[in-house]
Chain length 302, copies 2
Amino acid sequence: MKRIENIAETYQHLQTEICSSLENADGKGKFSHDNWEKEIGGGVTAVLQNGVIIEKGAVNFSFVKGKFSSRMEKLLCEKAENYAATGVSSILHPENPWMPIIHMNVRYFALDNGISWFGGGIDLTPHIIEPENTAEFHTALKTTCDQFDSRFYPEFKEWADDYYFLPHRNETRGVGGIFFDRLKYDSQEEFEKLFNFTVALSQLYPVIYTSFMKKHSNRPYSEREKNWQALRRGRYVEFNLMHDRGTKFGLESGGNTESILASLPAGAAWEYNYSPQPGGFEEKTLSLLKKGIDWINPKNNP
Amino acid sequence: MKRIENIAETYQHLQTEICSSLENADGKGKFSHDNWEKEIGGGVTAVLQNGVIIEKGAVNFSFVKGKFSSRMEKLLCEKAENYAATGVSSILHPENPWMPIIHMNVRYFALDNGISWFGGGIDLTPHIIEPENTAEFHTALKTTCDQFDSRFYPEFKEWADDYYFLPHRNETRGVGGIFFDRLKYDSQEEFEKLFNFTVALSQLYPVIYTSFMKKHSNRPYSEREKNWQALRRGRYVEFNLMHDRGTKFGLESGGNTESILASLPAGAAWEYNYSPQPGGFEEKTLSLLKKGIDWINPKNNP
């Protein structure tokens, strides 16, 4: 079995790769790389602020170990003394409202009772939903998933719809993507497959986003799109602070606050009883924040 | 015993009074009054947006009833079949960064097992802390508390320090104030005392804030103060979405989302690894976001 140290090494290397791809595509913004060390372990927080295309983006690597608290036992429904975890997590907030927010995470979690698993996903939150761009995004995810297991995309797509959901708003966070957790394995072969799957997703991530950057980052916009972007970022903040398991787990386990909350946008807005103009892109976007949409084959939608 | 219906009537009347005092002091802003009704009950959400002094403010009244779920049992450590609750809750976000954010809540909670209690408080979150203004605020709270019970102010001040605290930031939300919960009673006299105390606090609330408005709402400010205000609002959002019990309880019990989240500011900002200029008001403010400060008698502080 590959040990968690090896996985961490690969993940840290992937962090570096993601940062340089994104820096190249942005052309101006540079990631700061901050090493942090705390009682529970350490990591490298890479943050890019005020790029040309990326207004605020974080690519975090961490490798932590600690006591498996009763709180974590409840959260994860597992019994153990100690845990170790490593992962890469990223969120990018673009300047241009026609560009989407994107999120990626891959992680490996090992308990000292012998149980370990992979988790992760990639999901997209366009401020303004355009079905053709969403179809392209989902197709890219499906293609990568299918290289590993044809059951992955349909299963993990549904999981993302359920996970990236704000119950109090009755809205999905965006157009979903894939989400998976607790992918356990019982052979070296299975382990390799899952590990390689997380590596492939980390490599796909900058490819997807730089494609968006090339196509959409120069599109003109007005105050109307910027205001709408700020409101959608408000919803993103709601999800991250209220529902995101990584944020919750990170803060509760004594992780690095600045690193964990580097995922928040530079700015966000809230308006009481906002109501969209009939027929505008805002209304259309709201109408598409639903679970269960088949983005790749729109004919399958009711 | 006064029934919850009578308490609700008084609280709703207090909402109206608070709104008109604030409208008068603002001079331009008007509260919209939205009645809402859901399965669990109803309320009136009063929101003022884009006043001269108040950028966004909410004064909410609600009166709800429902099944006391197992989730609530855990949250409140009580056993019962049904509950009823009524309260007034308000948060004001000013335009001028020299003005503080203020929050007030009074509530009555009754279970069908015969147990009922009052809760509430007032707390202040200056974007820029000025100890003399904070002393005035705490003195006003103490004066009202002392009219009911000399133990109230010291006890509830400490409770506020503990409650309005962000563990992941190791910061208090602001300069505290008073907070109390589960104030039970075992005589009509005790009931009257607690009920009248919550009424007195609701009446004190606009008096405190209009005094701030008169003194500070015309103070000049620059982009520096506005940027700082946006960052402090970011912290306020973190508290409300992650820690505020009323928000949590309201959303979980199926309350009115727009009404509950009307407490969020119009805008907020986050900056990775923000570090204040040495000697500036930002650094001074951060140094005062601590529990246990005696604002009224600064000589008592170490």
